[in-house]
Symmetry: C2
Subunit: 198 residues, 2 copies
Amino acid sequence: MTKGQQTRDTILQTATQIASKDGLEGVSIGKLAEQLGMSKSGIFAHFGSKEDLQTATLDLAWEIMAGHLSTANTAPGLERLRAMLNGWLLYLEHSPFQGGCVFMAASTEFDGQPGKVRDHLLNLVVHAVGVLFEQLSTAQHLGHLRGDIPVPQMVFELHAFLQAANNAYQLSKDPQYFEYARHAIERHLSMWQTSEVL
Amino acid sequence: MTKGQQTRDTILQTATQIASKDGLEGVSIGKLAEQLGMSKSGIFAHFGSKEDLQTATLDLAWEIMAGHLSTANTAPGLERLRAMLNGWLLYLEHSPFQGGCVFMAASTEFDGQPGKVRDHLLNLVVHAVGVLFEQLSTAQHLGHLRGDIPVPQMVFELHAFLQAANNAYQLSKDPQYFEYARHAIERHLSMWQTSEVL
DNA sequence: TAAAAAAGCGAACGTTCGTGCTATTATTTT
DNA sequence: AAAATAATAGCACGAACGTTCGCTTTTTTA
């Protein structure tokens, strides 16, 4: 890895932390420069525009999040779904980002700001939700979950619990909300489970 | 009402719209001045600091929201709870704010920013959630809802659906999410309902 | 090791930000 | 109508913003 790419990565690492705590607009060139002991222009040269810095920040945040959602060695269907939801909860509770999930924060920050950043963000969010969709769908086809509730409806509800836990925790710093989310998710999964699968 | 108070109200009205679309930090003195055809100092004099402008904006937003949540002519308990949740959904779907619920947006914006604004916001949010708590609690004591699920747990889940609908809709502009939320809420209420009621 | 390319610095640009003054109008009150 | 008060404008400030440019240093390639 060349020196430039190394620096770029360090910059983005710091950027994800700022994005988590102060929002994606809070990722300013000056703040990064000060925090990293570099010049503004030195930072800037790596990206060419603030928008590109922001989308690159999202990309790194995505990699970091994905690294916390390992579903290796789990059988497809309900088991993998459980592993994924557990991973997501652990990722939110013991977050690699000091200010909570970058994507949930950025979503409400950019939902009304058309442009490159919003589009990029939307892509990533759709992809993340799609992963949840896929597992629920698989679990249903395998007969692990009942078929009387549409998959998108289940996606909505599970995703809602994750978002709510993240938001409430960040605002109150009370980890109790993760327990609420855990209970909610567990109750719903066992509710949706078919009888033959214990 | 004196002229000054009238102007102040006009300013705050505009401020709530900006807060909804661009966030509470996006409520800048300059933007307000331009949008209202006034001078920056003219705007500023009404509040004395940006923080006070922001908290005043939250207060007006609160009044506006409260005006959309009428539960008049409803019996306490399950009926009033239903009315309240319906009102909240309608408020989110046909929002008086162009960029979605000011409080949900401001919550993720200020959760990591200690200070007067965050404290004020937290107070309002706690109060709003408290109203939900109260109705669920009443409905349970009246025997309308089963007692095997703790009230805070139910508050968490219902609130999660409202938040998720607002967030997903603002990001995608797809009103379908409100239907998901409606179905989720209805299913849960009837699930938690005791048999003797209806 | 010399030449070429990449990385980084420093200063300046035009804007916008919140805030502080001093006037100058409007509006109340007497 | 006169006096007192409230409301707004105008101007300036220091700071932070993203961005550009030219120059120097470091790193890579040949």
